[in-house]
């Protein structure tokens, strides 16, 4: 389901086996228990669909707080993806079902934001190396989930790199800069905690060198 990583607006997603209801995959930076929500509500939705003879299931949508979970049947799975509450489920479902046809506008990112994203990717590479990269990508997702609320719908980890999935709105540039600063702070603090201050400092220094 890597296509979901690239669709703007998706904060996180989970896939659940249609036959056994088992959670197969959870990805992205959602702070919600997407696996459980998708598993429970896909099952409840199927019961209700049969009960009312509703025909083929198109989607189930739940709202909670400021977000929305949309569950769709996809091949032999249910996919539950989280978007902002105000977004229309069908906008995203259309992109999921005909991804090749969708022409997306080129992503334009202001230089300071592009630089911050580059810095974050370098930090993750430096802290994670070859063996711990997944762990640091998990930490990156966690920090986006907890600290980067503003950026989560349009940024995410795509093919192991933090990336913009669409151009950030011009009036939100300051919010995005601030959110990314928090993510950098978090990663550096985590590095100090996990590898000690001298090793963390050396790695941060290596990143500064690479950015020159």
């Amino acid at each position: 389901m890597d296509i979901l990583d690239k669709i703007p607006g998706i904060i996180g997603y989970a896939t659940v086996g249609a036959a056994d209801g088992k959670v197969e995959e959870i990805k992205g930076s959602s702070a919600t228990a997407l696996g459980d929500l998708t598993a429970y509500f896909s099952s409840a939705g199927e019961v209700i669909r049969n009960n009312f003879d509703m025909g083929e299931l198109k989607y189930i949508s739940l709202t909670y707080g400021s977000n929305r979970l949309v569950i769709v049947p996809y091949e032999h799975k249910f996919v539950g993806f989280e978007i902002e509450r105000d977004k229309q489920p069908l906008e995203i479902i259309e992109q999921l079902t005909v991804p090749a046809v969708v022409e997306r506008a080129p992503v334009e990112v202001p230089r300071n934001l592009a630089s911050k994203v580059h810095q974050i990717n370098l930090l993750v590479d430096e802290f994670g190396g070859e063996d711990e990269l997944e762990h640091w990508l998990d930490l990156l997702n966690q920090s986006l989930s907890v600290l980067g609320r503003d950026v989560a719908p349009i940024m995410g980890v795509v093919e192991s790199r933090l990336a913009f999935k669409e151009s950030p709105p011009a009036d939100k540039e300051d919010d995005f800069t601030q959110a990314l600063r928090y993510v950098v702070d978090f990663l550096v603090k985590k590095a100090v905690e996990e590898m000690g201050s001298s090793q963390a400092r050396a790695k941060v220094q290596a990143v500064i060198e690479k950015m020159r």
């Binding site: 509500f41 409840a44 907890v146």
Partner: protein
């Protein structure tokens, strides 16, 4: 609410309205009568699913099939909803306003426990405790969770504070680890006991 209210809202454009309270009492409009039994069962499935999930406060549910759709709006007392025939898989936006109309209670209605207001001072106390765990990230995490949970300071209820505490505990776990997150939750829960 009574059947008249449901029939009235049906005449305004909500095709097959219904309401089910948490005890299972089911009311339907005349247009919905054929589905009364299925609606009681569907509501039971929804209430049990939500209860199994615990901490997530679900506001609305849409289940859209090829031939029919069901939408419901939930609160602490139960749910109101409608069955309809979706056009191109869409829920007509006016349905939500009509469902909200069904929620309007007579002025003399007795406030439920859900409506008990809480002094917002508790939020400062929560922030002070949170500060000990996440330091510089306090304001950011606090504001993000307030937004995520859709909590408004001017309408702060007991249930909102409990939900915020759960969310902060979870968010803090991601930042400083599970044991500290649990420790924070324990301290915050003391505030609302």
């Amino acid at each position: 609410m009574d059947q008249d209210a449901l029939n009235k809202i049906a005449s305004k454009g909500l095709p097959m309205p219904f309401s089910v309270d948490r005890s299972g009492a089911t009311l339907v409009a005349d247009s919905t009568m054929a589905y009364k039994e299925q609606l009681s069962q569907a509501a039971l499935v929804i209430f049990e699913t939500i209860s199994a999930l615990g901490e997530v406060k679900i506001g609305t549910i849409e289940i859209i099939g090829e031939k029919k759709g069901v939408v419901v709006d939930l609160d602490a007392e139960g749910l109101v909803g409608t069955i309809f025939e979706p056009v191109e898989g869409r829920v007509p936006p006016e349905y939500w306003n009509l469902l909200r109309e069904l929620r309007v209670k007579p002025a003399a209605a007795v406030p439920s426990q859900r409506l008990a207001m809480v002094d917002p001072v508790i939020l400062d106390k929560i922030k002070a405790i949170l500060q000990d765990y996440v330091g510089d990230f306090t304001e950011r995490i606090f504001q993000n969770q307030m937004k995520n949970q859709g909590i408004k300071i001017e309408e702060l209820h007991n249930e909102d504070v409990r939900r915020l505490i759960l969310a902060l505990g979870k968010a803090t776990s991601m930042i400083v680890g599970r044991s500290k997150g649990r420790d924070l939750s324990r301290k915050l829960i003391e505030l609302v006991k």
